[in-house]
Assembly symmetry: C2
Homo-oligomer: 323 residues x 2
């Protein structure tokens, strides 16, 4: 069995590759050429949970196992920790185990990268709200999938921005300017693409449709029913609402709320996969916002895990253990 640490994963996968793998993953999703059992989401203690996401696709059995422990906020351990295990689909044999924490951040960013490449590959300005690990990789995906020259960042806690900028410049060779925005309004005004990467329970951008005309808004952060980053008027002003996963309609407040409140009609919710394979058509006008929301799914984790496993094996990265 091949064991891959966070560093091994980083070494085996560029952001460009990750975006390409996710573009292929959207095609696989559209063709429904996979088996994805319902995930197990359960309480370990108090607010701390364990999530199991299996998917069988191509030549692999993929399993992501993630703990989400808010109680770790009082400790040094990260809140989210996970692994991805790969078994051979032909024989069932477990063949790979890798760090899933960083890989999840890369994958989630790569999914946004596919949307940015699809809708706004010519964009030169990006705005990011929320400067955590997720935001960091979202920016790496943005510079890979667009013509980004200037990036605006905002955080509720401004002290977090300088260390974030340093970390970002460490991770990329591209010359791109990163500018602190003092207000969210300023950031939106300056950016063609606006990425929200927070775990907010209520909207983090203003409820004013006029601000978003012709812009792409990418919602990344909210992943639970009670979380919502995007505001009512944004949804009402868009012709379509583009999402990555049909299951998002029952998992995520940013999709559940707009449907239940009637801000978006179900028929106007479009899967990015359907746009990519040409099953549906959407030509956004410059008078409306484009909204993309990712909740991800086990299929994406299985495909990126399988890719990393194969790549690492080719390059002799990682540790082989007997099990």
């Amino acid at each position: 069995m091949l064991i891959l640490s966070e560093n091994d994963v980083k070494q085996s996968l560029s952001m460009r590759e990750a975006i390409d793998v996710m573009e292929q993953a959207f095609i696989t999703y559209a063709k429904q050429d996979f088996i994805m059992p319902d995930r197990i989401f359960s309480q370990v203690k108090e607010e701390d949970t364990f999530l199991l996401m299996p998917c069988y696709v191509d030549d692999c059995i993929g399993l992501k196992a993630v703990t989400s422990f808010p109680s770790n906020n009082e400790r040094s351990e990260p809140v989210t920790q996970g692994v991805i295990m790969i078994n051979d689909r032909e024989t069932g044999t477990p063949i790979g185990l890798m760090d899933g924490t960083l890989l999840t951040a890369i994958k989630t960013a790569a999914v946004s990268g596919v949307a940015m490449r699809y809708f706004k590959k010519e964009a030169t300005t990006i705005g990011l709200i929320g400067t955590g690990l997720q935001g960091l990789y979202q920016l790496l995906a943005a510079i890979e999938s667009t013509e980004a020259e200037k990036i605006y960042v905002y955080n509720r806690t401004p002290e977090k921005i300088e260390p974030f900028k340093k970390e970002f410049h460490k991770l990329t060779n591209q010359t791109v300017e990163v500018v602190t925005s003092d207000t969210v309004e300023q950031l939106i005004h300056n950016s063609e693409i606006i990425i929200t990467a927070t775990t907010s329970l209520s909207p983090v951008i203003p409820n004013d449709a006029t601000l978003y005309k012709g812009k792409l808004v990418v919602g990344v952060g909210s992943y639970k029913e009670n979380m919502r980053e995007l505001p009512e008027e944004l949804f009402k002003s868009a012709a379509y609402y583009v999402i990555d996963s049909e299951d998002g309609k029952r998992e995520c407040g940013d999709i559940i709320d707009p449907i239940q409140s009637g801000w978006v009609e179900n028929k106007n919710i479009v899967l990015l996969s359907d746009l990519i394979i040409g099953n549906r058509n959407y030509e956004p006008s410059s008078e409306e916002p484009i909204i993309f929301k990712t909740v991800s799914m086990a299929l994406f984790d299985a495909l990126i895990g399988n890719y990393v496993y194969k790549k690492a094996q080719e390059q002799n990265v990682g540790v082989v253990v007997e099990i």
Copy 2:
């Protein structure tokens, strides 16, 4: 993360210890001091399946992930392959991964060992039907939990018996005689405990209640709805039917069939855990058979996995990898 191969597991756990851990596990089960989400059982391709069994107990998150691939019968790989992963319940961090194939055989045998110790620790004769890996470990559990001096073995395919005997004597120092029985009837006649460890869809012992008076019948093999090793008259002649898991009532043909056919009343199905902690009482007479059936559960896997993890760590067994 500590990685333990099959050999490391073998080195870290004696059968005696496994039986003791399982006895404690029955007490934990009776006290309901654990969280056990529904398992995910799903098809990977054709008859090949993947099973995920999580359980949170003591200081661990335990997860058993097992593939069952009948298609491997045409290959050199084993049909069943699995791992057990242990995460720290306090922080969520993944800390151990071990071979789950052998450990499952040891654990299943240890569960039978608890029942044999409880009902028949003075037995000197054991009969085993089915000489696979499971049967091998059942015998090791039998000699640990009884006064076994003579063991009778039967297999539908007699050529498998000699290699089985050799393998058995390799695994134990105890002087115990292993004798081939030419017929199942002969085996039953000679044995105080009869263990069935096959994957048969229909009974492997005769449908004649007079054969089993005063004996303990341990059903191990059947684990699916369509499998049944034990016959109608056996069930009808027993005062109680002792099982290890409440969930067995919807998982296993050897429990489903007797209930649905009315051979056993639900009130006469007793959990071994309830006997062990004295919640219920059962004094078998020498005129009736005692029947014990194990289907096991994620709780047992988590507890044995956690025990092996800690023991291996203490003894510096296994390989530590960064993940």
